[in-house]
Protein backbone atom coordinates (compact mmCIF):
# COMPACT_ATOMS: atom_id res chain seq x y z
CA UNK A 1 0.00 0.00 0.00
CA UNK A 2 1.50 3.29 -1.16
CA UNK A 3 0.02 6.70 -0.47
CA UNK A 4 0.93 10.12 -1.80
CA UNK A 5 -0.56 13.08 -0.01
CA UNK A 6 -0.21 16.57 1.31
CA UNK A 7 0.98 17.08 4.87
CA UNK A 8 -0.92 18.70 7.72
CA UNK A 9 1.51 19.03 10.57
CA UNK A 10 0.58 19.11 14.25
CA UNK A 11 2.57 19.54 17.45
CA UNK A 12 3.27 17.30 20.44
CA UNK A 13 0.73 15.61 22.72
CA UNK A 14 -2.26 16.06 20.41
CA UNK A 15 -4.95 14.54 22.62
CA UNK A 16 -8.12 12.70 21.65
CA UNK A 17 -10.25 15.66 22.79
CA UNK A 18 -8.49 17.71 20.13
CA UNK A 19 -8.93 14.96 17.53
CA UNK A 20 -12.65 14.60 18.24
CA UNK A 21 -14.13 16.69 21.09
CA UNK A 22 -16.44 14.83 23.48
CA UNK A 23 -19.33 17.12 22.57
CA UNK A 24 -19.64 15.15 19.33
CA UNK A 25 -19.47 11.69 20.88
CA UNK A 26 -23.23 11.27 20.98
CA UNK A 27 -22.98 9.61 17.57
CA UNK A 28 -20.95 6.76 16.13
CA UNK A 29 -21.50 7.81 12.51
CA UNK A 30 -18.02 8.16 10.96
CA UNK A 31 -19.11 10.88 8.50
CA UNK A 32 -20.60 12.97 11.32
CA UNK A 33 -17.41 12.55 13.35
CA UNK A 34 -15.25 13.48 10.36
CA UNK A 35 -16.97 16.89 10.17
CA UNK A 36 -15.33 17.81 13.50
CA UNK A 37 -12.02 16.00 13.16
CA UNK A 38 -9.07 17.91 14.70
CA UNK A 39 -11.39 20.86 15.24
CA UNK A 40 -9.95 21.93 18.61
CA UNK A 41 -6.40 21.79 17.24
CA UNK A 42 -7.18 23.49 13.91
CA UNK A 43 -10.76 24.71 13.50
CA UNK A 44 -10.46 24.77 9.71
CA UNK A 45 -9.07 21.25 9.29
CA UNK A 46 -12.37 19.49 8.47
CA UNK A 47 -12.99 21.96 5.62
CA UNK A 48 -9.58 21.88 4.03
CA UNK A 49 -8.51 18.23 4.38
CA UNK A 50 -8.68 16.25 1.14
CA UNK A 51 -8.84 12.46 0.69
CA UNK A 52 -5.33 11.08 0.67
CA UNK A 53 -3.81 13.84 2.83
CA UNK A 54 -1.40 12.83 5.57
CA UNK A 55 -1.33 13.90 9.22
CA UNK A 56 2.17 14.37 10.60
CA UNK A 57 2.68 15.01 14.31
CA UNK A 58 5.28 15.28 17.02
CA UNK A 59 5.43 12.91 20.03
CA UNK A 60 2.55 11.21 21.86
CA UNK A 61 -0.14 11.66 19.21
CA UNK A 62 -3.57 10.54 20.41
CA UNK A 63 -2.99 10.76 24.15
CA UNK A 64 -5.93 10.91 26.50
CA UNK A 65 -9.12 8.96 26.19
CA UNK A 66 -9.72 5.54 24.68
CA UNK A 67 -12.37 6.83 22.28
CA UNK A 68 -12.06 4.88 19.06
CA UNK A 69 -14.03 7.75 17.55
CA UNK A 70 -10.63 9.48 17.22
CA UNK A 71 -9.04 7.15 14.64
CA UNK A 72 -12.50 6.57 13.13
CA UNK A 73 -12.93 10.33 12.58
CA UNK A 74 -9.48 10.63 11.00
CA UNK A 75 -10.09 7.66 8.72
CA UNK A 76 -13.48 9.04 7.68
CA UNK A 77 -11.96 12.35 6.54
CA UNK A 78 -10.08 10.33 3.96
CA UNK A 79 -6.68 10.95 5.57
CA UNK A 80 -4.52 8.14 4.20
CA UNK A 81 -2.19 7.72 7.16
CA UNK A 82 -0.77 9.32 10.30
CA UNK A 83 2.98 9.62 10.79
CA UNK A 84 4.24 10.71 14.22
CA UNK A 85 7.34 10.70 16.42
CA UNK A 86 5.37 8.47 18.77
CA UNK A 87 1.79 7.49 19.53
CA UNK A 88 -0.04 7.14 22.83
CA UNK A 89 -0.65 3.50 23.59
CA UNK A 90 -4.43 3.23 23.26
CA UNK A 91 -4.56 5.31 20.08
CA UNK A 92 -1.85 3.12 18.54
CA UNK A 93 -3.78 -0.02 19.37
CA UNK A 94 -7.09 1.44 18.17
CA UNK A 95 -5.64 2.62 14.87
CA UNK A 96 -4.31 -0.84 14.11
CA UNK A 97 -7.54 -2.47 15.23
CA UNK A 98 -9.71 -0.37 12.91
CA UNK A 99 -7.28 -0.34 10.00
CA UNK A 100 -6.11 3.28 10.04
CA UNK A 101 -2.53 3.16 8.73
CA UNK A 102 -0.04 4.72 11.15
CA UNK A 103 3.73 4.90 11.20
CA UNK A 104 6.07 5.80 14.04
CA UNK A 105 9.03 7.57 12.52
CA UNK A 106 10.94 9.60 15.13
CA UNK A 107 13.71 10.64 12.71
CA UNK A 108 11.45 11.79 9.90
CA UNK A 109 9.25 14.34 11.62
CA UNK A 110 11.67 17.27 12.01
CA UNK A 111 12.35 17.15 8.27
CA UNK A 112 8.70 17.31 7.27
CA UNK A 113 6.77 20.59 7.10
CA UNK A 114 3.19 21.64 6.65
CA UNK A 115 2.28 21.52 2.98
CA UNK A 116 5.04 19.07 1.96
CA UNK A 117 4.02 16.12 -0.17
CA UNK A 118 4.93 12.66 1.13
CA UNK A 119 5.04 9.28 -0.45
CA UNK A 120 4.43 6.61 2.19
CA UNK A 121 4.82 2.88 1.70
CA UNK A 122 2.89 1.47 4.61
CA UNK A 123 3.99 -2.15 4.19
CA UNK A 124 7.69 -1.34 3.98
CA UNK A 125 7.47 1.55 6.45
CA UNK A 126 9.13 3.79 3.93
CA UNK A 127 8.59 7.57 3.86
CA UNK A 128 9.79 9.93 1.14
CA UNK A 129 9.48 13.69 1.31
CA UNK A 130 8.72 14.62 -2.30
CA UNK A 131 9.67 18.27 -1.72
CA UNK A 132 13.19 17.57 -0.46
CA UNK A 133 13.78 14.06 -1.77
CA UNK A 134 14.77 12.90 1.74
CA UNK A 135 13.85 9.32 2.67
CA UNK A 136 13.15 7.78 6.06
CA UNK A 137 12.44 4.39 7.53
CA UNK A 138 9.66 3.98 10.13
CA UNK A 139 9.79 1.63 13.11
CA UNK A 140 8.50 -1.75 11.97
CA UNK A 141 5.52 -3.53 13.52
CA UNK A 142 5.91 -6.82 15.38
CA UNK A 143 4.75 -9.75 13.17
CA UNK A 144 1.57 -10.27 15.21
CA UNK A 145 0.47 -6.68 14.66
CA UNK A 146 1.46 -6.85 11.02
CA UNK A 147 -0.91 -9.82 10.77
CA UNK A 148 -3.81 -7.74 12.18
CA UNK A 149 -2.95 -4.96 9.73
CA UNK A 150 -2.84 -7.43 6.83
CA UNK A 151 -6.27 -8.74 7.76
CA UNK A 152 -7.65 -5.20 7.72
CA UNK A 153 -8.16 -4.91 11.46
CA UNK A 154 -8.89 -6.91 14.59
CA UNK A 155 -12.45 -7.93 13.76
CA UNK A 156 -11.39 -9.65 10.54
CA UNK A 157 -8.47 -11.20 12.36
CA UNK A 158 -10.73 -12.66 15.07
CA UNK A 159 -13.22 -13.80 12.43
CA UNK A 160 -10.55 -15.64 10.53
CA UNK A 161 -9.20 -17.28 13.66
CA UNK A 162 -12.74 -18.55 14.33
Amino acid sequence: MKFTGKVYKFGADIDTDAIIPARYLNTIDPQELAKHCMEDADADFPNKVQPGDIIVAEKNFGCGSSREHAPIAIKATGVSCVVAKSFARIFYRNAINIGLPILEAPEAIDAIHEGDALEVDIVRGHIKNLRTGEEFQATSFPPFMQEIINQGGLINYVKKKG
Partner: protein
Protein backbone atom coordinates in the same frame (compact mmCIF):
# COMPACT_ATOMS: atom_id res chain seq x y z
CA UNK B 1 14.84 -13.16 37.29
CA UNK B 2 11.93 -12.13 39.48
CA UNK B 3 8.75 -10.63 38.11
CA UNK B 4 6.82 -7.46 38.87
CA UNK B 5 3.23 -7.62 40.09
CA UNK B 6 2.08 -6.61 36.60
CA UNK B 7 4.05 -9.43 34.97
CA UNK B 8 2.73 -11.94 37.49
CA UNK B 9 -0.91 -11.08 36.84
CA UNK B 10 -0.44 -11.31 33.07
CA UNK B 11 1.47 -14.60 33.46
CA UNK B 12 -1.30 -16.07 35.59
CA UNK B 13 -3.83 -15.17 32.90
CA UNK B 14 -1.95 -16.78 30.04
CA UNK B 15 -1.09 -19.93 31.95
CA UNK B 16 2.64 -19.29 32.10
CA UNK B 17 5.13 -19.50 34.96
CA UNK B 18 7.39 -16.80 33.62
CA UNK B 19 6.91 -14.04 31.08
CA UNK B 20 9.34 -11.41 29.92
CA UNK B 21 8.74 -7.72 29.25
CA UNK B 22 8.19 -6.98 25.58
CA UNK B 23 6.56 -10.36 24.90
CA UNK B 24 3.14 -10.40 23.28
CA UNK B 25 0.78 -12.65 25.21
CA UNK B 26 -2.82 -13.65 24.75
CA UNK B 27 -4.61 -13.57 28.10
CA UNK B 28 -7.91 -14.68 29.57
CA UNK B 29 -9.81 -11.75 31.02
CA UNK B 30 -11.85 -11.42 34.19
CA UNK B 31 -13.68 -8.19 33.37
CA UNK B 32 -14.62 -6.35 30.16
CA UNK B 33 -16.11 -2.88 30.63
CA UNK B 34 -17.83 -0.41 28.34
CA UNK B 35 -19.79 2.82 28.72
CA UNK B 36 -22.45 4.71 26.78
CA UNK B 37 -19.86 6.29 24.48
CA UNK B 38 -17.63 3.31 23.77
CA UNK B 39 -19.97 0.31 24.05
CA UNK B 40 -22.21 1.29 21.10
CA UNK B 41 -19.12 1.25 18.83
CA UNK B 42 -18.08 -2.09 20.34
CA UNK B 43 -21.56 -3.53 19.85
CA UNK B 44 -21.51 -2.52 16.17
CA UNK B 45 -18.12 -4.23 15.79
CA UNK B 46 -19.29 -7.29 17.70
CA UNK B 47 -22.22 -7.61 15.33
CA UNK B 48 -19.84 -7.73 12.37
CA UNK B 49 -18.48 -10.96 13.80
CA UNK B 50 -21.84 -12.62 13.19
CA UNK B 51 -21.90 -14.33 16.58
CA UNK B 52 -25.13 -14.88 18.39
CA UNK B 53 -23.81 -14.85 21.93
CA UNK B 54 -21.04 -13.14 23.81
CA UNK B 55 -18.37 -15.42 25.24
CA UNK B 56 -19.50 -14.95 28.85
CA UNK B 57 -22.15 -12.38 29.86
CA UNK B 58 -20.93 -12.60 33.47
CA UNK B 59 -17.61 -10.93 32.71
CA UNK B 60 -19.11 -7.95 30.87
CA UNK B 61 -20.00 -4.74 32.69
CA UNK B 62 -21.91 -1.94 30.94
CA UNK B 63 -22.29 1.46 32.60
CA UNK B 64 -24.15 4.37 30.99
CA UNK B 65 -22.38 7.15 32.88
CA UNK B 66 -21.02 9.70 30.41
CA UNK B 67 -24.05 11.43 28.89
CA UNK B 68 -26.64 10.16 31.38
CA UNK B 69 -29.29 10.90 32.49
CA UNK B 70 -29.35 11.35 28.74
CA UNK B 71 -28.61 14.90 27.72
CA UNK B 72 -30.06 14.79 24.21
CA UNK B 73 -31.77 12.54 21.71
CA UNK B 74 -28.59 11.23 20.14
CA UNK B 75 -27.13 10.15 23.46
CA UNK B 76 -30.45 8.58 24.42
CA UNK B 77 -30.19 6.50 21.23
CA UNK B 78 -26.70 5.42 22.21
CA UNK B 79 -27.86 4.36 25.67
CA UNK B 80 -30.72 2.48 24.09
CA UNK B 81 -28.33 0.48 21.92
CA UNK B 82 -26.43 -0.53 25.01
CA UNK B 83 -29.53 -1.29 27.08
CA UNK B 84 -31.00 -3.53 24.38
CA UNK B 85 -27.71 -5.32 23.90
CA UNK B 86 -27.48 -5.94 27.66
CA UNK B 87 -31.00 -7.39 27.68
CA UNK B 88 -30.49 -9.48 24.57
CA UNK B 89 -27.22 -10.92 25.83
CA UNK B 90 -28.45 -11.30 29.41
CA UNK B 91 -25.69 -9.13 30.79
CA UNK B 92 -26.61 -8.70 34.44
CA UNK B 93 -24.03 -6.06 35.18
CA UNK B 94 -25.78 -3.31 33.28
CA UNK B 95 -26.57 -0.36 35.53
CA UNK B 96 -29.47 1.90 34.69
CA UNK B 97 -29.51 5.39 36.17
CA UNK B 98 -30.64 4.98 39.74
CA UNK B 99 -28.10 2.19 40.21
CA UNK B 100 -25.52 3.70 37.92
CA UNK B 101 -22.41 5.48 39.13
CA UNK B 102 -19.27 6.67 37.37
CA UNK B 103 -17.87 3.36 36.17
CA UNK B 104 -14.51 3.55 37.94
CA UNK B 105 -16.15 4.39 41.24
CA UNK B 106 -18.88 1.80 40.75
CA UNK B 107 -16.99 -1.37 39.78
CA UNK B 108 -14.71 -1.47 42.83
CA UNK B 109 -17.57 -0.47 45.13
CA UNK B 110 -19.62 -3.44 43.95
CA UNK B 111 -16.70 -5.85 44.09
CA UNK B 112 -16.87 -6.42 40.33
CA UNK B 113 -13.09 -5.99 40.03
CA UNK B 114 -10.87 -7.71 42.57
CA UNK B 115 -7.18 -8.05 43.43
CA UNK B 116 -5.28 -10.17 40.93
CA UNK B 117 -7.87 -9.64 38.18
CA UNK B 118 -7.07 -8.87 34.60
CA UNK B 119 -9.54 -6.23 33.45
CA UNK B 120 -9.88 -4.23 30.25
CA UNK B 121 -12.29 -1.40 29.70
CA UNK B 122 -13.18 0.70 26.72
CA UNK B 123 -12.34 3.73 28.81
CA UNK B 124 -8.87 5.04 29.42
CA UNK B 125 -9.33 5.41 33.18
CA UNK B 126 -9.88 1.67 33.58
CA UNK B 127 -6.38 1.84 35.07
CA UNK B 128 -8.11 2.97 38.31
CA UNK B 129 -8.57 -0.67 39.40
CA UNK B 130 -4.82 -1.06 39.75
CA UNK B 131 -5.39 0.42 43.22
CA UNK B 132 -6.83 -2.97 44.16
CA UNK B 133 -3.77 -4.85 42.94
CA UNK B 134 -5.44 -5.78 39.66
CA UNK B 135 -3.95 -5.36 36.20
CA UNK B 136 -6.39 -3.03 34.50
CA UNK B 137 -5.97 -1.06 31.34
CA UNK B 138 -7.97 1.01 28.89
CA UNK B 139 -8.54 -0.17 25.34
CA UNK B 140 -10.70 0.88 22.44
CA UNK B 141 -14.10 -0.34 21.36
CA UNK B 142 -12.81 -2.90 18.85
CA UNK B 143 -10.71 -4.54 21.55
CA UNK B 144 -13.80 -4.58 23.72
CA UNK B 145 -15.78 -6.23 20.90
CA UNK B 146 -13.13 -8.91 20.41
CA UNK B 147 -12.99 -9.49 24.17
CA UNK B 148 -16.77 -9.86 24.39
CA UNK B 149 -16.52 -12.47 21.64
CA UNK B 150 -13.52 -14.42 22.90
CA UNK B 151 -13.03 -13.61 26.59
CA UNK B 152 -9.43 -12.81 25.72
CA UNK B 153 -7.16 -9.98 24.70
CA UNK B 154 -3.55 -9.61 23.61
CA UNK B 155 -1.05 -7.62 25.64
CA UNK B 156 2.52 -6.55 25.28
CA UNK B 157 4.07 -7.28 28.68
CA UNK B 158 5.05 -3.81 29.89
CA UNK B 159 8.21 -2.71 31.56
CA UNK B 160 7.59 -1.15 34.97
CA UNK B 161 8.60 2.09 36.61
CA UNK B 162 8.55 1.97 40.40
CA UNK B 163 7.57 5.16 42.25
CA UNK B 164 8.57 5.04 45.91
CA UNK B 165 7.04 7.59 48.27
CA UNK B 166 8.63 8.15 51.66
CA UNK B 167 8.48 10.75 54.43
CA UNK B 168 5.53 12.18 56.28
CA UNK B 169 2.50 13.34 54.34
CA UNK B 170 1.88 17.02 55.22
CA UNK B 171 -1.67 18.20 55.99
CA UNK B 172 -3.84 18.76 52.91
CA UNK B 173 -1.56 16.69 50.68
CA UNK B 174 -3.49 13.79 49.13
CA UNK B 175 -3.23 10.99 46.61
CA UNK B 176 -4.16 13.53 43.94
CA UNK B 177 -1.09 15.59 44.76
CA UNK B 178 1.18 12.55 44.70
CA UNK B 179 0.06 11.52 41.24
CA UNK B 180 0.20 15.13 39.98
CA UNK B 181 3.74 15.27 41.30
CA UNK B 182 4.69 12.23 39.23
CA UNK B 183 3.03 13.60 36.10
CA UNK B 184 4.64 17.00 36.61
CA UNK B 185 7.94 15.21 36.98
CA UNK B 186 7.93 12.70 34.11
CA UNK B 187 5.46 14.42 31.75
CA UNK B 188 2.35 13.28 29.94
CA UNK B 189 4.21 10.55 28.06
CA UNK B 190 6.80 9.79 30.74
CA UNK B 191 5.42 6.30 31.32
CA UNK B 192 4.19 5.59 27.80
CA UNK B 193 3.45 1.86 27.36
CA UNK B 194 4.70 1.16 30.90
CA UNK B 195 3.33 -0.16 34.14
CA UNK B 196 3.49 2.38 36.96
CA UNK B 197 3.92 0.77 40.34
CA UNK B 198 3.25 2.97 43.37
CA UNK B 199 4.86 1.94 46.60
CA UNK B 200 6.67 3.09 49.75
CA UNK B 201 5.56 3.83 53.30
CA UNK B 202 3.37 6.77 52.27
CA UNK B 203 1.40 4.69 49.75
CA UNK B 204 1.06 1.85 52.28
CA UNK B 205 -0.75 4.24 54.61
CA UNK B 206 -3.05 5.75 52.00
CA UNK B 207 -6.77 4.99 52.14
CA UNK B 208 -8.35 3.12 49.25
CA UNK B 209 -10.01 6.33 48.04
CA UNK B 210 -6.61 8.02 47.73
CA UNK B 211 -5.14 4.93 46.06
CA UNK B 212 -7.92 4.94 43.46
CA UNK B 213 -7.12 8.57 42.70
CA UNK B 214 -3.46 7.73 42.13
CA UNK B 215 -4.03 4.71 39.91
CA UNK B 216 -6.75 6.61 38.03
CA UNK B 217 -4.30 9.13 36.61
CA UNK B 218 -1.62 6.67 35.46
CA UNK B 219 -2.95 7.23 31.94
CA UNK B 220 -2.20 10.96 32.29
CA UNK B 221 1.48 9.99 32.31
CA UNK B 222 0.87 7.70 29.33
CA UNK B 223 1.00 4.58 31.53
CA UNK B 224 -0.53 1.29 30.49
CA UNK B 225 -1.58 0.59 34.03
CA UNK B 226 -1.02 1.93 37.52
CA UNK B 227 -0.76 -0.61 40.28
CA UNK B 228 -0.45 -0.81 44.06
CA UNK B 229 0.33 -4.13 45.73
CA UNK B 230 -2.66 -5.18 47.86
CA UNK B 231 -2.34 -5.19 51.65
CA UNK B 232 -4.54 -5.12 54.73
CA UNK B 233 -6.16 -1.86 53.67
CA UNK B 234 -7.08 -3.50 50.36
CA UNK B 235 -8.34 -6.59 52.15
CA UNK B 236 -10.59 -4.56 54.43
CA UNK B 237 -12.06 -2.91 51.33
CA UNK B 238 -12.66 -6.03 49.24
CA UNK B 239 -13.60 -8.70 51.74
CA UNK B 240 -17.14 -7.43 52.25
CA UNK B 241 -17.65 -6.77 48.55
CA UNK B 242 -16.19 -9.82 46.79
CA UNK B 243 -18.43 -12.63 45.68
CA UNK B 244 -15.68 -14.67 44.03
CA UNK B 245 -12.12 -15.62 45.03
CA UNK B 246 -9.27 -13.16 44.54
CA UNK B 247 -5.49 -13.30 44.66
CA UNK B 248 -2.92 -10.95 46.16
CA UNK B 249 0.22 -10.59 44.07
CA UNK B 250 3.33 -8.59 44.81
CA UNK B 251 6.53 -7.85 42.97
CA UNK B 252 9.55 -10.07 43.62
CA UNK B 253 12.44 -8.35 45.41
CA UNK B 254 14.64 -9.06 42.38
CA UNK B 255 12.10 -7.92 39.81
CA UNK B 256 13.54 -5.83 37.02
CA UNK B 257 12.47 -2.18 36.66
CA UNK B 258 12.97 0.20 33.79
CA UNK B 259 13.47 2.87 36.41
CA UNK B 260 12.96 3.51 40.12
CA UNK B 261 12.00 7.03 41.17
CA UNK B 262 11.95 8.14 44.79
CA UNK B 263 10.01 11.01 46.30
CA UNK B 264 10.18 12.43 49.80
CA UNK B 265 6.76 13.96 50.44
CA UNK B 266 7.58 15.70 53.73
CA UNK B 267 7.96 19.15 52.18
CA UNK B 268 5.19 18.83 49.60
CA UNK B 269 2.24 21.13 49.24
CA UNK B 270 -0.98 20.53 47.27
CA UNK B 271 -0.47 20.92 43.53
CA UNK B 272 -2.50 22.48 40.76
CA UNK B 273 -2.15 21.46 37.09
CA UNK B 274 -2.44 24.51 34.87
CA UNK B 275 -3.93 24.45 31.37
CA UNK B 276 -3.64 22.60 29.06
CA UNK B 277 -1.74 19.54 30.20
CA UNK B 278 -1.80 17.63 33.50
CA UNK B 279 2.00 17.94 33.56
CA UNK B 280 1.88 21.75 34.03
CA UNK B 281 1.91 21.50 37.82
CA UNK B 282 2.65 24.20 40.35
CA UNK B 283 2.43 24.36 44.12
CA UNK B 284 -0.89 25.86 45.17
CA UNK B 285 0.89 28.70 46.96
CA UNK B 286 2.56 29.60 43.65
CA UNK B 287 -0.66 29.56 41.66
CA UNK B 288 -0.92 33.35 41.59
CA UNK B 289 -4.21 35.18 41.27
CA UNK B 290 -6.39 32.90 39.14
CA UNK B 291 -10.03 34.01 39.24
CA UNK B 292 -12.48 31.19 38.68
CA UNK B 293 -15.91 30.93 37.07
CA UNK B 294 -16.61 27.37 38.15
CA UNK B 295 -15.48 24.69 40.58
CA UNK B 296 -16.25 21.01 39.94
CA UNK B 297 -15.79 18.37 42.62
CA UNK B 298 -16.43 14.89 41.32
CA UNK B 299 -15.33 12.40 38.60
CA UNK B 300 -13.72 8.97 38.68
CA UNK B 301 -10.62 10.69 40.08
CA UNK B 302 -12.09 12.46 43.10
CA UNK B 303 -15.80 11.76 43.44
CA UNK B 304 -15.58 9.33 46.35
CA UNK B 305 -16.80 9.67 49.92
CA UNK B 306 -13.50 10.85 51.36
CA UNK B 307 -13.30 13.52 48.68
CA UNK B 308 -16.75 14.76 49.59
CA UNK B 309 -15.89 14.62 53.30
CA UNK B 310 -12.90 16.91 52.75
CA UNK B 311 -14.95 19.32 50.67
CA UNK B 312 -17.76 19.34 53.25
CA UNK B 313 -15.26 19.97 56.06
CA UNK B 314 -14.10 23.13 54.32
CA UNK B 315 -17.52 24.32 53.14
CA UNK B 316 -19.30 23.75 56.46
CA UNK B 317 -20.88 27.01 57.58
CA UNK B 318 -19.38 28.90 54.63
CA UNK B 319 -20.75 30.18 51.33
CA UNK B 320 -19.32 29.62 47.89
CA UNK B 321 -18.16 32.88 46.35
CA UNK B 322 -20.93 34.82 44.65
CA UNK B 323 -18.93 35.17 41.45
CA UNK B 324 -18.72 31.46 40.74
CA UNK B 325 -20.68 28.25 40.24
CA UNK B 326 -19.83 25.19 42.31
CA UNK B 327 -20.92 21.76 41.10
CA UNK B 328 -20.50 18.67 43.27
CA UNK B 329 -21.05 15.21 41.81
CA UNK B 330 -20.94 12.12 44.01
CA UNK B 331 -19.41 9.18 42.10
CA UNK B 332 -22.14 6.61 42.78
CA UNK B 333 -25.61 6.34 44.27
CA UNK B 334 -24.07 4.76 47.36
CA UNK B 335 -21.57 7.56 47.80
CA UNK B 336 -24.42 10.01 47.32
CA UNK B 337 -26.52 8.27 49.98
CA UNK B 338 -23.64 8.07 52.44
CA UNK B 339 -22.85 11.75 51.87
CA UNK B 340 -26.50 12.52 52.52
CA UNK B 341 -26.53 10.52 55.76
CA UNK B 342 -23.38 12.19 56.97
CA UNK B 343 -24.79 15.65 56.29
CA UNK B 344 -22.34 16.58 53.53
CA UNK B 345 -25.06 17.18 50.98
CA UNK B 346 -26.83 19.57 53.32
CA UNK B 347 -23.55 21.39 53.86
CA UNK B 348 -23.03 21.72 50.11
CA UNK B 349 -26.51 23.01 49.44
CA UNK B 350 -26.38 25.44 52.34
CA UNK B 351 -23.07 26.70 51.00
CA UNK B 352 -24.70 27.43 47.66
CA UNK B 353 -23.27 24.54 45.64
CA UNK B 354 -25.19 22.42 43.16
CA UNK B 355 -25.29 18.68 43.86
CA UNK B 356 -25.87 16.39 40.89
CA UNK B 357 -26.83 12.78 40.45
CA UNK B 358 -23.76 10.65 39.59
CA UNK B 359 -22.54 11.32 36.03
CA UNK B 360 -19.33 12.09 34.19
CA UNK B 361 -21.07 15.28 33.09
CA UNK B 362 -18.73 18.26 32.89
CA UNK B 363 -15.54 16.18 33.31
CA UNK B 364 -15.47 15.53 29.57
CA UNK B 365 -17.49 18.56 28.56
CA UNK B 366 -20.62 16.46 28.20
CA UNK B 367 -23.27 18.32 30.17
CA UNK B 368 -24.00 19.62 33.69
CA UNK B 369 -21.59 22.54 33.69
CA UNK B 370 -20.09 23.37 30.30
CA UNK B 371 -17.73 26.35 30.11
CA UNK B 372 -18.31 29.37 27.89
CA UNK B 373 -15.58 31.14 25.94
CA UNK B 374 -12.87 32.52 28.17
CA UNK B 375 -14.13 30.88 31.36
CA UNK B 376 -11.90 29.19 33.91
CA UNK B 377 -12.74 26.16 36.02
CA UNK B 378 -10.91 24.41 38.81
CA UNK B 379 -11.85 20.73 38.83
CA UNK B 380 -10.92 17.62 40.75
CA UNK B 381 -11.02 15.72 37.45
CA UNK B 382 -8.06 14.35 35.53
CA UNK B 383 -7.72 16.20 32.22
CA UNK B 384 -7.32 19.86 31.38
CA UNK B 385 -6.88 19.58 27.62
CA UNK B 386 -8.01 22.36 25.29
CA UNK B 387 -11.81 22.35 25.16
CA UNK B 388 -12.11 19.50 27.65
CA UNK B 389 -14.92 21.12 29.65
CA UNK B 390 -16.48 23.25 26.96
CA UNK B 391 -15.42 26.06 24.65
CA UNK B 392 -11.98 25.68 23.11
CA UNK B 393 -11.02 29.02 24.62
CA UNK B 394 -11.96 27.96 28.15
CA UNK B 395 -9.47 26.73 30.74
CA UNK B 396 -9.43 23.86 33.22
CA UNK B 397 -7.15 23.68 36.26
CA UNK B 398 -6.83 20.40 38.17
CA UNK B 399 -6.49 19.96 41.92
CA UNK B 400 -7.49 17.93 44.95
CA UNK B 401 -10.92 18.34 46.58
CA UNK B 402 -9.34 20.37 49.39
CA UNK B 403 -7.95 23.02 47.05
CA UNK B 404 -11.14 22.98 44.98
CA UNK B 405 -13.39 23.52 48.02
CA UNK B 406 -11.18 26.29 49.41
CA UNK B 407 -11.17 27.98 46.01
CA UNK B 408 -14.96 27.72 45.78
CA UNK B 409 -15.14 29.86 48.92
CA UNK B 410 -12.75 32.58 47.77
CA UNK B 411 -13.47 32.55 44.04
CA UNK B 412 -9.80 32.14 43.10
CA UNK B 413 -7.27 29.32 43.38
CA UNK B 414 -6.60 29.16 47.10
CA UNK B 415 -4.66 26.93 49.51
CA UNK B 416 -6.99 25.09 51.92
CA UNK B 417 -5.22 26.55 54.97
CA UNK B 418 -6.31 30.06 53.99
CA UNK B 419 -10.05 29.55 54.47
Amino acid sequence: MGMTISQKILAAHCGREQIETGELVNCKLDVVLGNDITAPVAIAEFEKLGLEKVYDPGMIVLVPDHFTPNKDIKSAQQSKVMREFARGQQIENYFEIGQMGIEHCLLPELGLVLPGDLAIGADSHTCTYGALGAFATGVGSTDMAAAMATGEAWFKVPESIKFVFSGKLPPWVSGKDLILRIIGDIGVDGARYMAMEFTGEVVRQLSMDNRFTMANMAIEAGGKNGIIAPDEITRAYVETRASRPYTFYESDPDADYFEIREYDVSDMEPLVAFPHQPENTRGVSEAGHVLLDQVVIGSCTNGRLEDLAIAAGLLKGKKVHSGLRTIIIPGTQNIYLEALRKGYIETFIEAGAVVSTPTCGPCLGGHMGILAQGEKALATTNRNFVGRMGHRDSEVYLSSPAVAAASAITGRITPPWEV
